[in-house]
């Protein structure tokens, strides 16, 4: 699904390294690039090599992508830091699995911190998109390439193994016309009739490095203003709102449908961009909602962003299942139920 969307988005360079649970994507890209005259697929010798090949392809102006799963993404962080520093566009897919360490190959959301806090060394951010359905996965893959080019920054799609297995009908957006994409006046293609260009990240002069850091910070501010996005479901009249992303949000939605059937006024807030985090929209909700339940397939990472966003205005509860455990909607419905009744009881007492 990502593969087809990436090709339609104009991705012409893919480098990757085998790791479960995302080998289907690598294999898809091998077959998709082969017939394209301007397409390149390289099975790299390591995750490090793969991300660095992407750096090279991006310098040359190509729409480039790599993908991996948690342990492999750790290795790619070096390159992601350089992409951010050198202001190079690229798309990185992380199909998260249980961790830390080798962990397991089951769906997990344990890489939230790594993805949204920069991940590699240095003062930078990565745009992080979290699709929750097949259709959204396809759409956001296209969006990821546009964001990467527009803002000249690496973009990560954060998913998990569940997403790859979803059998949903998807309408793919039309392929982009590569000729119509904005030119990249910074790319390296030989200084023929123009001054030579340098793409670097070494700034030994501290004043220059500071200037570069602030320049990046201003760019991140612009990004935060322009693309922070969330999806809501039945929040208008909700007394309790569940906050979850990706697969966890799908499970939560199932739970909310069940509790709505028995009359509980519960809604779902689903961040689509994890960085920038849709803070303002959550803060907005806190005007009417007293209790939030954060549900993650981890021991609580996005939880911190929710608390920061709410500035202490509402109560934040947490339910998490790390290690690759996939909760059922019934399990979440139970958690919602008990929180909801506690809240109602309190109100009656008041």
């Amino acid at each position: 699904m990502i593969g087809e969307a990436a090709v339609r988005a104009g991705c012409r360079f893919y480098a990757g390294y085998p790791i479960t649970p995302q080998n289907e994507l690598t294999e898809y890209m091998a077959n998709a690039m082969a017939p394209l005259e301007d397409g390149t697929f390289v099975q790299a010798e390591s995750e490090l090599a793969a991300i660095n090949m992407v750096i090279g392809a991006s310098m040359a102006g190509a729409r480039a992508m790599t993908s991996s799963s948690s342990p492999g993404i750790s290795l790619k962080q070096e390159g992601i830091s350089y992409l951010a520093a050198q202001e190079l566009p690229a798309v990185i897919i992380n199909t998260m699995r249980g961790g830390p360490g080798l962990g397991n190959i089951a769906p997990s959301q344990g890489d939230y911190f790594q993805a949204t806090r920069g991940g590699g060394h240095g003062d930078y951010r990565t745009i992080v998109l979290a699709p929750a359905s097949g259709q959204e996965l396809a759409n956001l893959t296209m969006t990821a390439f546009d964001y990467a080019d527009n803002y000249r920054t690496p973009v990560m799609i954060l998913g998990d193994g569940m997403m790859g297995q979803m059998m949903e009908p998807v309408t793919f957006p039309d392929p982009v016309d590569l000729q119509k994409l904005s030119p990249k006046p910074w790319k390296l293609d030989g200084a023929d009739g123009r001054p030579s260009r340098v793409i670097l990240s070494l700034l030994l002069d501290t004043a220059k490095e500071e200037e570069h850091n602030w320049k990046l910070a201003r760019k991140y501010e612009t990004i935060a203003r322009e693309i922070a996005r969330a999806d809501t479901y039945m929040t208008q009249d909700a007394h309790l709102v569940v906050i979850a992303y990706g697969t966890a949000a799908r499970i939560a939605k199932g739970a909310i449908k069940r509790v709505r059937e028995i009359g509980l006024k519960v809604g779902l807030f689903r961040p689509v961009t994890l960085w920038p985090f849709p803070q303002r929209a959550i803060l907005e909700l806190s005007r009417f909602v007293k209790d939030f339940l954060v549900f993650e397939m981890s021991t609580g990472q996005m939880l911190e962003d929710v608390k920061l966003s709410l500035e202490g205005r509402s109560r934040v509860h947490f339910y998490g299942r790390p290690g690759g455990i996939i909760s059922t909607p019934d399990e979440i419905a139970k958690v919602i139920n008990s929180l909801y009744h506690r809240q109602r009881l309190e109100l009656e007492e008041e």
Binding site: R12, F13, A15, T40, V42, A44, E45, S46, L48, A49, A50, N52, M53, V54, I55, G56, A57, S58, M59, A60, G61, A62, A64, E78, G79, Y82, Q86, L188, D189, G190, A191, D192, G193, S196, R197, V198, I199, L200, S201, L202
Partner: protein, 250 residues
């Protein structure tokens, strides 16, 4: 015909080298710049400089430059060259960069037969970080991390990366030269010229390993350092064509 003997090559920027006196980098930069002009490839050249003393190569070589993380030159060059097969892509790397932290990237680029050129400057030491042991440091040679000299039992022996790369099927042309004498400098220029020509002909992976003095970290005068190359380094890393599958390239 009158011939100008010393002229700034077209592809050398007008900045003064920061390299120490007697350092081989300045000479090798100059040779590369001359060849970019002589082969008329400067306009389509993209250089991938390393981390190390030559990290500032972009201040000197007047071509497009894309800086790679330490050791990843061959991978970055792979991405560039695969995207722009008509351009001339070359990396410029030191021994620590290529033969320690970047060994995997280099071996696999050679094995895939990437049509890139590698200038591998071997001075047997980590220059920029202050003289630590490199994979190519000679046995017994002093460095800041080998008290009493490199001890094979403790520190391992010098690694001959070029020889290893020659085993890879995809490598086409590999030669080891030096820049410690006018004669060797001329030989180095010929070798780099051939390496570029191999790429221009689309034949595959080419590499020139250049033995280069680092008087500063060897704690020698430039003259003594040049002599050390001749008397010690070439004994372990002999100057020769290590592999040539290309034959005569025009």
């Amino acid at each position: 015909m009158a011939k100008k003997v010393f002229e700034r090559p077209k592809y050398l920027k007008k900045s003064v080298f920061h390299y120490c006196p007697g350092c081989g980098h300045s000479i090798i930069h100059r040779l590369v710049a001359e060849l970019l002009d002589e082969l008329d490839i400067g306009k389509k050249a993209i250089c991938v400089p390393p981390a190390g003393c030559a990290v500032l190569a972009y201040n000197y070589l007047d071509v497009d430059m894309g800086e790679a993380p330490h050791g990843r030159g061959a991978a970055v060059a792979t991405g560039l060259k695969r995207t722009l097969p008509d351009k001339i892509v070359f990396t410029y790397q030191g021994d620590g960069d290529i033969a320690a932290i970047g060994t995997a990237e280099t071996i696999h680029a050679a094995n895939r037969g990437e049509n890139i050129t590698v200038i591998f400057v071997n001075n047997g030491v980590y220059g920029m970080t202050g003289g630590q042991m490199a994979p190519t440091t000679l046995e017994g040679q002093n460095s800041t991390t080998t008290p009493g000299g490199r001890d094979p039992a403790r520190d391992g022996s010098p690694l001959d990366l070029s020889q290893m790369l020659a085993i890879a099927k995809g490598s086409v042309y590999i030669e080891r030269t030096a820049v410690n004498s006018p004669k060797n400098i001329r030989r180095t220029k010929r070798a780099i010229k051939k390496a570029f020509k191999v790429q221009m002909a689309g034949l595959g992976f080419s590499l020139v390993e250049v033995l280069s003095p680092c008087p500063t970290n060897w704690k020698m005068t430039p003259v003594d350092a040049a002599k050390w190359v001749e008397e010690h380094v070439t004994k372990i890393f002999p100057l020769k064509v290590i592999k040539d599958k290309a034959g005569k390239v025009t």
